[in-house]
Amino acid sequence: MFRHTTLRYATLALLLAGALFQALTAGYFGLEILTEILILAMLVLALDIVAGFGGMVSLCHGALMGVGAYAFTILSTSAGIAPPIAMGGAVALSGAIAWIIGAICSRSHGIYFIMATLAFGQMAYSYVFEAPIFGGDDGLSGIRRLDLSLIGLNLNDSRTFALFCLVLLGAVYGAAVLILRSGLGRSFSGVMHNEQRMRALGLTVWRVKADVFGLSGMIAGLAGTLAAQHIMYISPGLLTWTVSGEALVVVILGGLGTLVGPLVGAAAFVVLKHEISGITPYWHLAVGLILIGVVMSRSNGIFGWIEKRWGARLDRRLADATRSQDQKEVTTDA
């Protein structure tokens, strides 16, 4: 079950401070990288909810993000619906499709679940690639960002858009924590720990899995609507399984089932990608080597390694400090 620790709070504060500093001081290129990190972070949070807390390792979250991106684009351009409503509609559609996928795949486990979600993802990719309404290989353009001029914000400005994405990521993180701490979230974790027992207690397991997968799909869809607004162009490449695979790599790199870890993973992955690709076009090799190192270290990703090394020590120190403070107060009172 999800628990916040001192280290997790500290890491969140550090990440937030870093993002704010970057958002307020960086130039155009730096802001583009920051926005890329924030959108990827949203997608990997969605994946961590189902994979890290429910054991549902999905290879269709890229496709769910693509559904969000395409639905937003078509609703806001061809259908002429106001972008905020189009965004809501796209998120709802991604959630509904994810719920159906979750319901169908909930009875399979392990490699079979992965393969089933991969099949759904590739079906979505093929459909979007072939259907004329989606623009085929050429994709769709002419995407407008939300108009928030009523509250004095211009999202066409890179800095404002990055800050907007940061606010939404914060809201999504809060929602993820609420989901995992709710009755539904706790039951979902219970199912991962012991599905047979949860069923024997009277829980309709497939329904719980489908509900959480649907919520996770909504978050992936929201990331898709932001991705479409960020680049202002979308193509079927957004739905390929490699996007899902990349998201999974980021979750594992950061720390599966920690929520904070995938945020660390997203930042590390995008920064590494840009830094190493400036030196060599074979940046995937470097990321691959780092991933192998992380997996071989038997830690739960970068953040898992940090937690193992310093988490317990930090909590112990804080507990000692609180105890000695209490003792001091008692002595002073006496």
Partner: protein, 247 residues
Amino acid sequence: MLKTRELDKKFGAVHVTRQVSLKLERGERRVILGPNGAGKTTLFNQLVGELTPDSGSVHLAGEDVTSLTVAQRARRGLSRSYQKNTLFDGLTVEENLGLAAAVHTGHATRLWGDSLARPEVREIVQEVAEQVNLMPFIHAKVSEISYGVRRQLEVGVALATRPLVLLMDEPTSGVGPEMSKAFHDLLNNLPRDLTMLIIEHDMDLAFDVADTITVLNYGEVVFDGAPNEARGSSLLREIYLGSWEDA
């Protein structure tokens, strides 16, 4: 409260349950005895719905539940504990009981609010923890408690769903004599209106707790009666090869 009618199950050529008919009244405590391979756990699995019988039916509180799923039967009041601990290992004792209590109170699928913080869930957790003597370990993780305490928790999790009928598969399996004695007291102190069906190899516990004893052999009911009748049964003595007198 719980009734089976001619339950029959075969695994290929092996006939594991032969026309088993049982009838448990409300509050009755029945122990099922039988040698290894007699079909006791297979019978349990058919009662809770983990296995589908080839023929026959299961009735709970007057309702035919034969076609219902495991979860549907559990929600109607049929709860079980397992021979091997089937707990939520990474969680605390409180969280284990809370998960079960949340399912019973309907908070397990709600998106708003922490199910374990609900007063009705907390009340059940507190009450069950006291019933099965788990209060000293309430905040400990399952991985931190002894095997015997885990057996208590195994029963506690089943109890936290507030069942009408509690099925226990060898609750004292693997525990020492002292712990086994504690289990006698624990089971004897459970509410008298709770119907219990227990698979057990511990003869002392069987004769101490049971109102009725049913003996299975090769999937067939060969004895059904009071504990004192069971003690004098030559057929049972034969099945257990004399271990009876040691009990």
